[in-house]
């Protein structure tokens, strides 16, 4: 199953031994910041990185449930999803995407500095990442507030203002736009009489998914910011160098992952049926 299965004749610790930094045992002096049960820095680092990656896979599946629900309901209620998406602010969404990409860059730089053992630089980039992350969360909070004011919180006095919907003049263009199972069908929602009642119920589903997905994402961001804050002190103390920067690297991987989730959330939530 594993790629090493066939190639490695001896176990990973045997490989580590070949690199010469092993066999400290509990008799010899154990190197600083090498946990007692590891033989070498390489072993420790590779364990940590594999651990983080495996964890990120669980995160994929965690968000995956929401994505599945999203796909299903979007294909069931395309109009409602368009109507819901039009309630979101593309501008803010785009800015936030950019902010998050910047923060990924600063995070990557922090990891690089850690690899090079530059304590001050690590801390600097961490602070930059924290600031950018907080900006993202701030903007998100503003958006949430708007939704609250506009009664777009599902289950809580949800009400979709009719005149917020983009009105289309003239005949519906829908029939010119065939689409598949998973796909939006039309430019906008023509709004004569009773239709909106349904749209309203199903738009509530959209907003539930919106809050569910962005909310979980935000929770991950908050945890990430917390972890970054916690990292500042050890990095200033020079804890990290080429041998030992697992914490910076692991938290960095996590941060990038959260960025990737947003990369998918942004078009799925903000950009549905914008054209037309």
């Amino acid at each position: 199953m594993s790629p090493e299965a066939h190639s490695t004749a001896i176990g990973p610790r045997g490989v580590a031994a070949a690199h010469g930094s092993t066999e400290q045992g509990h008799t010899g002096a154990h190197p600083p910041r090498l946990a007692h049960h590891f033989d070498s820095y390489a072993q420790q680092r590779e364990s940590a990185s594999l651990g983080v990656w495996v964890f990120l896979v669980t995160e994929i599946m965690f968000f995956g449930g929401l994505f599945t629900a999203y796909i299903l309901y979007r294909s069931k209620y395309p109009e409602a999803f368009i109507a819901g998406s039009h309630q979101l602010d593309v501008m803010l969404g785009t800015i936030n995407t950019a902010v998050l990409i910047c923060s990924s860059l600063t995070m990557a730089m922090a990891v690089r500095s850690a690899q090079l053992g530059r304590s001050k630089a690590i801390a600097g980039f961490l602070v930059a990442t924290i600031v950018l992350g907080s900006v993202f969360l701030g903007i998100k909070a503003t958006e949430y507030h708007h939704k609250w004011v506009e009664h777009l919180i599902p289950g809580h006095d949800f009400h979709l203002e009719i005149d917020h919907l983009p009105t289309h003049h003239g005949k519906p263009v829908a029939s010119e736009l065939p689409s598949g199972v998973v796909g939006e069908s039309r430019a906008d929602v023509p709004l004569p009489s009773a239709g909106p009642q349904d749209i309203q119920a199903h738009t509530q589903l959209f907003f539930f998914l919106y809050f569910g997905m962005t909310g979980l994402h935000a929770v991950h961001m908050i945890i990430g910011v917390g972890l970054l804050v916690w990292l500042i002190r050890p990095s200033l103390r020079g804890m990290f160098d080429g041998n030992n920067h697992n914490y910076v690297e692991g938290i960095g991987l996590y941060w990038h992952f959260v960025d990737i989730v947003w990369i998918f959330l942004f078009p799925l939530l903000y950009l549905v049926g914008r054209h037309g």
Binding site: G11, G65, L72, Q204
Partner: protein, 565 residues
């Protein structure tokens, strides 16, 4: 050695290490006090913490099973009220599955043995290991608290919209308990995967790994890929219940069948979380008590992986009559047939291993052989359930109840008991009375069959499950089942008593009381804190029960190679 009259010296393989100097330091006695347990990062002590907590939940779940069976002795439903009965089987299912069987073998035996079996000092992330126990305990406390306040009555499957809109029991509390415990499962799986990849001793190649380790690797894969889905499902369920949004509620445009998809996407693979570790145990036992290499090692190893992967493709076989499309039903039925094949491979390879073995009738082996037989019955009835035409009739009847108890009680628990009996001398350094352990094993086997065999017939007769009262003509079989359950319950008491007894009064175990091969038998019983006094280097494959192990002058066996024609 000869002092242990209960366990005659199996001196086929000499004790690998000299008897330790009398009071020697091991993981149990190197520190004392509650804090040294609750703050430990030693995988062996954490395993003990798990052992205590899963046993607690087993007794709790078992106690509920006893009341369930008592209630079902009469058709009227007169012992407890319907509401209570519903809570009983729900909490029975939840405790047994989420808080007992899923963590049992991996977190107790796996935790204790994997590092030793691969020759490591500990799991890759000892702190996370401890954390996972705390998470488990907190989740357990939530659920236990919910139980004290009355428990939930949704069935362990939590189907919407019953669970989201109709019951007024503390669903969110229990759901939260399961959600939290899920993370403990994830962390355990993560730890195992990294440990197996990165912590193997020099010379411990993938195909020298004991099959126990392979099956735990497969289990861990399921844990990390499946468990997050139940977590998100539970979050959605909670959100729907608390905020009244309709992701599963048809009144608001949601779809109740989507809940079932999500739930079974986890819960079907989860049944393999429960059985794979037991299969790993059985592989160890069969090898040790036939003194033979497991027949078809590579096939058995890859069968574990195949089960883990294929197990994710079959979930909707729980939903054949739940309004899914017939085409989807057909796909899932066909895929369910495929997943039976790796199980078949295992069963046949184990049986063939017996051929020309040196078969000992020690207690662990009795459990292992019981496992094979009962798992075969349970598994084949599973295949019957996966057959579309049959499931229309027997879905949600006692046939299903019998199927899964055959696999989970007759299979997984037999494996767990066998493993406990096999490694108990290693874990505690004590021997238990041989006679009573055999009496216990036979009582459990008999009680088990009397309890659950009649349920197959009940199921085909059409008795639906989760029924608190039932038509008169089902009574005879139900009484039989209840009688069996009493025997079964008493059967479980026997090991409970002598295990506890042995911790104080049992004779000391030698390092290798069974004369078995494996790194865990090459260290003292109980093992020292960092598992080995000298870091081991592996030069043998697993189960190399070969004369050359005793007489080094003999040529070693050719490495077993996979030959596929």
């Amino acid at each position: 050695m000869t002092a242990h009259s209960d366990f005659p010296a199996h001196s086929a393989f000499p004790e690998p290490i000299e008897e330790a100097p009398e009071p020697y330091e091991h993981y149990l006695n190197h520190k004392y006090g509650l804090a040294s347990w609750l703050l430990t990062r030693d995988h062996k002590r954490i395993a003990i913490l798990y052992l205590i907590s899963v046993s607690f939940f087993f007794l709790l779940g078992g106690a509920m099973a006893v009341i369930i069976r008592l209630e079902l002795t009469t058709p009227e439903g007169d012992l407890v009220q319907a509401d209570i009965y519903n809570r009983l089987f729900t909490m029975h299912g939840i405790m047994m599955i989420f808080f007992f069987l899923i963590p049992s073998i991996p977190s107790v035996l796996g935790n204790f043995l994997i590092p030793i079996m691969i020759g490591a000092k500990d799991l890759a992330f000892p702190k996370i290991n401890l954390l996972s126990w705390y998470i488990y305990a907190i989740g357990g406390l939530f659920t236990f608290y919910a139980l004290l306040t009355g428990g939930v009555d949704t069935g362990w499957t939590f189907y919407a919209p019953l669970s989201t809109g109709y019951t007024n029991t503390p669903v969110v509390l229990v759901a939260l308990g399961i959600f939290i415990t899920g993370f403990s499962s994830i962390l355990t799986g993560l730890n195992f995967i990294v440990t197996i990849h990165r912590m193997r001793a020099p010379g411990m190649t993938w195909f020298r790994l004991p099959l126990f380790v392979w099956s735990h690797y497969a289990t861990s894969v399921i844990m990390i890929l499946g468990t997050p889905v139940i977590a998100i499902t539970i979050l959605l369920l909670g959100a729907e219940r608390i905020f009244g949004v309709g992701i599963f509620d048809p009144k608001l445009g949601g779809d109740p069948v989507l809940f079932q998809h999500f739930f079974w996407f986890y819960s079907h693979p989860a049944v393999y979380i429960m059985i794979l570790p037991a299969m790993g145990v059985v592989s160890e036992l069969i090898a040790a008590f036939t003194r033979k290499p497991v027949f078809g090692y590579h096939f058995v190893a890859f069968a574990s992986i195949a089960i883990a992967v294929l197990g994710f493709f079959v979930w909707a076989h729980h939903m054949f009559v739940a309004g899914i499309s017939v085409y989807a039903a057909a796909i899932f039925s066909a895929l369910s047939m495929l997943v039976a094949i790796p199980s078949a491979v295992k069963v046949f390879n184990w049986t063939t291993t017996l051929y020309k073995g040196s078969i000992s009738w020690d207690t662990p082996m009795l459990y292992a052989l019981g496992f094979i037989g009962l798992f075969t019955i349970g598994g084949l009835t599973g295949v019957m359930l996966a057959t579309l035409g049959i499931d229309i009739h027997v879905h949600d009847t006692y046939f299903v109840v019998a199927h899964f108890h055959y696999i989970m009680v007759g299979g997984a628990i037999m494996g767990y008991m066998g493993g406990l009996h096999y490694w108990w001398p290693k874990i505690t350094g004590k021997l238990y009375p041989k006679f009573w352990s055999k009496v216990g094993a036979l009582t459990i086997f008999l009680g088990f069959n009397v309890t659950f065999f009649p349920q197959f017939i009940l199921g085909y007769l059409g008795m639906p499950r989760r029924y608190h009262a039932y038509p008169n003509e089902f009574q005879v079989l139900n009484v039989m089942s209840s009688a069996g359950a009493t025997v079964l319950g008493l059967g479980y008491l026997i090991p409970a008593v002598y295990f506890i007894w042995s911790m104080r009064y049992g004779k000391d175990a030698s390092a290798n009381p069974w004369g078995a091969i494996g790194l865990e038998w090459e260290t003292t019983s109980p093992p020292p804190v960092e598992n080995f006094d000298k870091p081991p280097v592996v030069t043998w494959g697993a189960y190399e029960y070969h004369e050359s192990r005793v007489q080094p002058s003999l040529p070693p066996p050719k490495q077993e190679v996979m030959r596929v024609t």
